[in-house]
Symmetry: C2
Subunit: 314 residues, 2 copies
Amino acid sequence: VDEFELIRRYFLRAGGNGADAGVEIGIGDDGAVLAPTPGLHQVQVIDTLVEGVHFPAHLDPSDIGFRALAVNLSDIAAMGAVPRWMTLALSMPHADEEWLEAFAGGLFTAAGEFGVALVGGDTTRSPVLVVSVHISGEVEPGSALRRDGAQPGDTIFVTGTVGDAAAGLAGLVGGSPVRDLVRRFTRPAARVRYGRALVGHATAAIDVSDGLFGDLAKLLTASGQGAELSIDRLPLSPALIANFGMDECRRFALSGGDDYELCFTSAGQPPDAGIVPVTAIGRVTSGSGIVCYDGDTVVPYADEGYLHFREERD
Amino acid sequence: VDEFELIRRYFLRAGGNGADAGVEIGIGDDGAVLAPTPGLHQVQVIDTLVEGVHFPAHLDPSDIGFRALAVNLSDIAAMGAVPRWMTLALSMPHADEEWLEAFAGGLFTAAGEFGVALVGGDTTRSPVLVVSVHISGEVEPGSALRRDGAQPGDTIFVTGTVGDAAAGLAGLVGGSPVRDLVRRFTRPAARVRYGRALVGHATAAIDVSDGLFGDLAKLLTASGQGAELSIDRLPLSPALIANFGMDECRRFALSGGDDYELCFTSAGQPPDAGIVPVTAIGRVTSGSGIVCYDGDTVVPYADEGYLHFREERD
């Protein structure tokens, strides 16, 4: 089976070849031809997952497929855009049909859930599994959520619960997986609908991929502000609390990464669209840096979240 | 140095952060925000280069950077579009600053030559170097060059010369590199300007990436036609002829790949925009398959060009 046959068989699925909205030419030519919606701007994101780096080797391929799309959808959500089209760059050691079928299953599950059409891709051999997904979304001009708009006095919010995915991954790797936590890692829920609801409400937004503490720090740096963060208000799931001590829960929540929740700032109340719970966790301050509070007590915390290439720096 | 610092240092270069036409938000947020040109359609392509698969290990990083963009620009050319924006997914074992600087140098050389702005990316650790580039271009509605429009009686043309890159690579790997040939491999000239000139003239087009014979076969399959191919008319460079016997020259030309010339069909004469030499090499026929001729003599030829995963099929 050559790569072209692989692409045809697994990715030339229903809707992948011109049947989707705005797709003039889909998979099968030198490039895809798309019809952008007149009057809208386009949001583009690209994210890569490497086996053994971003997920454990031998993770269920349908989870890999789902997750590869979800982490990109999360970036689209953080921009307040509507996801439309994706391209896939898939590099892998072997052309394993069973693996590909499961991977495509997970990918198309996420694609179907969020209305994203696969319009093109490239499948190549590589010694290690590397999956890059590019998504194009659309947003009204001037409406995209940015990182750099937070103002002193704004409240800091986060959607859902944080720490679950990292705790789930730790359990998975350590041989004591907790089902509800593992699922937060394997099947992250991109907050696309809530991101749309934030347009016009949030002053700044970022998705929590590397850890809440580090990602909030990026938002604040971009905005030129600091923050007070109440770690006693971090939204923790019952499954997390049931399986870990409070210190460990907070560490997962602050630095664990892979949550794919939205962290955002707003001068008023957050929109309650009945989509996902939202928790106020702090306040933007003038200056720089994040000061953590447990109630009224300042708690030193310096973890910057997961960084690639970190070992070379330390 | 963490990945974010790497991205900032090497890829947040001049024009990469909102200074370019149509870039509302560039590198540094969760996604890029672009302003598509009203009334145009968008062409999207993605292509991956893997070290040791698509190029030899330890190739000059500036050549890798140039080539990663050029192979994608070639797909844009084959669609008749104008390249506009790119995103980069870079996975590598080590965060080597010297390597990155050279790679970025080659990438931005190609980007500058073709007016492409880097608008986003993702840099991650991986056991092997994998470079995926996504380019968005623009084209007038209904004008994109397709693979499926060739008609019986159309003449088959190819730009430039074919076989050089494969011969150059063979010399490079085999320890007897010929400078002019190697350069065709390391610095492919994407035929973007000629692709634009073909809009309204070509009935079908494809770029020659896997080998002229195999890529022409793909065009013909998409069009539901066959062809007569005159292998004695293949455009061969003086450097190729000077270094190889005629049989080997023709094998490189037909099956070598990596040429990144355009192969196209037309009912009339090709546009001569003074951009690149163009050679008539055959004729589209009804039916299927390619019959090769050397003068009036039929020559059996069955190579399908370079295919990934081929060993598993054979």
